[in-house]
Symmetry: none
Subunit: 268 residues, 2 copies
DNA sequence: GAAACATCACACTCAAACCTGTGAAGTTCA
DNA sequence: TGAACTTCACAGGTTTGAGTGTGATGTTTC
């Protein structure tokens, strides 16, 4: 499988990559060497020039590089910006892993409470296969998606809309949470340090606290980029969660630190 | 292609319909005859009983009919008419006129309460020009649209999602309404007779009553097709509304009847 | 203007998603 | 209980759409 077929001029390892894998490699190349040639790319991947152009168009759209005649160069604003783009992609993968794991904690018939995090967004497709379910959230995007699923009883938490988070917050949201009770809640936050969780926004802290209180078991979903960071407001101590779920890329040292404080930590 | 193969017992015209076409025909049948037999459907379409069951499940989910042993029956009179798919096609022009008039009753800075009617749907674009506004509703489609407008503070009324109306209802919705107060509310209903308004669904009646109670001025928006009709549940007497707005196509006789009972009636 | 490169429009491939039937297992009704 | 009906799980069959290449047609560069 790793052996080159006689007569083939290109590395067969690169043949079966989809656009995604190819574009990831192109990103690496352009970041390390500063520029790439379209023709060279076509040869080294064993694809046509057209396909390379399409890849470069896509990467340009994402802001990773800039096309030029004959190939592409790294964004002038520097490696940093590209690294951010790369990081946010890596985080997406982590979030998908967290979401997949979280789906495993849900069983048909349960009542589930979701916050307005992007991790939750990745969780939604998995829920379609775990019906019947009752799902409550304050996240507008999720409400729309859930409303189209069969055998999902959707509950909206009311409140004042916050365009930045696309979710509903404030007193109405908190009031509704106080009069409901859920089997399980999935909550995320922006920072975790030591035995505490943090978030930079007051009103979100208020809602998340109430969410945790309204659920039999509340699971905290965080990718490892959130660890060893803080934010303005203290949210809750880690031990108030039934478990803390982190992505597989979390360093062992971080895991050990988390586990110090009588906290159950699971790796997705 | 249009010729029947020898030995085939069923009508070839019905063979190539997808689920969609088949379901449309089933809908017609069940509406005209009141009930259908699963076995007969299977034979007349030349498909298996399993497929018919899947069609009926889907139509039941859409609120078009109700499954029963051996087949399906039409939804109790009136319920189907409250189905979004049906309502949105009827009297579009009248509804747009009502919506335009209603927009004239809104001024920048107001807090506005909207119900889940299609008339409200047509009102939304007008609101963009009347900002700043605070707008509350239990109608999912409206929440999505409003969330994209600038200078509109959006408030969601929470509750249990109802796929047929695309809106949130039940206790949580009513509770939030009880703790809020609005300058103006726009409410619609499915039937008006004499001095009373009616609606066929219990849970909607409960929400609309609370909406009217939560607003300084509540306006009833009805196109003339709703007049001289009744539905199962009494909603509210006409005089509880600040005004009743009807479309210009309303017969003069109807107008006179409405005005008999000390009710303010405006023509859009 | 010729060569190199970029884009466009169309067609092909292949895998995922959808639709359907089958037979077994479960449920309801008489 | 037995018959009719419904649901479930799985396995074809079909359709759809993403990904790709090809050759024709623009566009840039020297």
């Amino acid at each position: 499988m790793t052996q080159a077929t006689a007569g083939e001029t290109d590395d067969p390892r690169d043949r079966a990559l989809g656009p995604e894998g190819r574009q990831a490699l192109i990103t690496e190349m352009v970041l390390s060497t500063g520029s790439v040639s379209a023709q060279e790319l076509a040869e080294s991947f064993g694809v046509s020039a057209m396909t390379v152009h399409r890849d470069l168009d896509e990467l340009q759209r994402q802001g990773v590089l800039r096309k030029s005649r004959g190939g592409a160069t790294a964004q002038p604003s520097g490696t940093f910006e590209s690294n951010v783009a790369f990081r946010s992609k890596a985080n997406i993968e982590a979030k998908q892993q967290l979401a997949r794991y979280a789906a495993g904690l849900v069983e048909p018939g349960m009542s589930v409470l979701l916050d307005d995090s992007t991790t939750v967004f990745h969780l939604l497709p998995h829920l379609a296969g775990l019906t019947p379910l009752t799902v409550a959230t304050n996240y507008l995007t999720a409400l729309t998606d859930l409303s189209e699923m069969r055998d999902v009883q959707v509950v909206a938490l009311g409140g004042h809309y916050d365009a930045q988070h696309r979710s509903f917050m404030g007193t109405p949201c908190i009031e509704s949470l106080r009069s409901m009770r859920f089997d399980v809640a999935f909550v995320s936050t922006s920072a975790v340090t030591g035995a505490y969780t943090f978030h930079q926004e007051d009103k979100i802290v208020a809602v998340k606290r109430e969410m945790v209180a309204a659920a039999e078991k509340a699971h905290l979903l965080v990718d490892h980029s959130k660890l060893r960071r803080t934010a303005l407001h203290r949210l809750l101590p880690l031990h108030t969660f039934a478990s803390v779920v982190v992505d597989p890329a979390t360093p062992a040292a971080e895991l050990a630190t988390l586990r110090e404080n009588d906290v159950r930590v699971d790796v997705a």
